[in-house]
Symmetry: none
Subunit: 214 residues, 2 copies
DNA sequence: CGTGTAGGTGAACGTATATTCACCTACAAT
DNA sequence: ATTGTAGGTGAATATACGTTCACCTACACG
């Protein structure tokens, strides 16, 4: 595709840089561009690069190797990172929370925008074990995308996932009087409170998103 | 997150490389790694890199600058299939259903297992426009993953997404007496019926999954 | 105790890579 | 005809960067 404001030669160079980054996860050197495009002198490449930079199609870090990057969001498909594949946590007991990721029941691909500001590394998927939050639209069996967080980082009123015994539930979190309280919103469910060091309850973290297969 | 088989130091280096690539669209140099992690000698970095390569966490191109790349993920699913990126449909009028994919409001990565038996090509994402199905756990603003289907292929009782005017809603589908009926489950919403050739209503297809950002 | 491994310092070295210079061709515009 | 810009060659130069060497500390293990 011909980009506006570019000569044919500049266009070739730009396309090559983009495809090189896509394949190699790093920008090409001047010599590599020259070789691919049959430009014998790196100075020929240098002039193209200077033009592309002047026209804002690329950004550069002067004097550093492979110091080229594509300007803005030319296309959103540059996968600098593998798509986030989050583990679906399997059967774990609340007194062994460190085993959360040990025996995953599988993994699901999740769009990074569903993770909020959380890093994909710190997220796991839990399967909701009851209907205690059904009037918030969370039902038993739903996939909960959870950012693993220490309970001390949670704010009162946040939606969290917790492991009670071997069951995972979504609840509203509240910390007061040295205990954390897990509050359901659905009728027929009762609030539960735990000492913060209790082994029967492990707060996994903040619920960022939910997914459900019909 | 601690990766299996890595020491704490190797883990820090690996995490730094990954985050550097994500931010800069290119791998870091040894000096940059050292500076970020307070390792004064590039040789210290070199030994970490060598260990990471030996343990197959990264790949290298010897002697080339920034010649580090992350090893392919161990999950075969990522390598074979390009992740399905489904269009989120934007503002469309029900009398122009062929424009559904014309001006997408964006796109989201979706795990193929959330598509049921549907082909990714035939699926779109719609944003629920009301709370008519809230007791099925579908709320206004939810992402509906919809398999585009002609209404004649739908079975009575299936959950569908329909475009009414400029709004998209989820409803239970029912065809009888030459009309299709869109039945809500929430109190305060009424069933609506349309002649199958009516231009005010376009049935997009079957709802396969839902996603919601908290 | 010795031995192995992870991790580190500092320096020397070679090469990969960007920069710059002088000079050239082709082509369009004034 | 002159001027300006795009694109090019080839070579010299400076520096960014990876590699290697000698040597050190801390710690786990049998």
């Amino acid at each position: 595709m011909q980009k506006p404001g570019l000569t044919a030669g500049q266009n070739r160079v730009f396309d090559y840089i983009r495809s090189y980054i896509r394949e190699n996860q790093k920008p090409p050197t001047f010599a590599e561009i020259g070789e691919a495009l049959s430009i014998r002198s790196t100075n020929g490449v240098h002039k193209h690069i200077a033009a592309l930079e002047r026209k804002k199609y690329i950004n550069r870090t002067p004097r550093v190797s492979r110091g080229i990057s594509l300007a803005d969001s030319d296309d959103p498909f540059i996968l600098t990172d593998a798509p986030p594949l989050l583990p679906v946590i399997g059967r774990v007991r609340s007194d062994k929370p460190q085993q959360l990721r040990h025996h995953p029941a599988g993994a699901l691909l999740v769009d990074p925008r569903l993770l909020g500001r959380a890093e994909a590394d710190s997220c796991v998927i839990a399967i909701s074990g009851d209907d205690g939050m059904q009037d918030l639209g969370i039902r038993k069996g739903d996939f909960l995308i959870v950012e693993e967080t220490d309970w001390s980082q949670l704010l009162n009123g946040e939606l969290v996932a917790a492991l009670i015994g071997e069951r995972i539930i979504a609840r509203l979190f509240d910390f007061s009087r040295n205990r954390f309280h897990l509050r359901p919103t659905a009728r027929g469910y009762k609030e539960e409170a735990f000492r913060s060091d209790a082994s029967g309850c492990h707060v996994i973290g903040r619920v960022q998103s939910i997914m459900r297969n019909i």
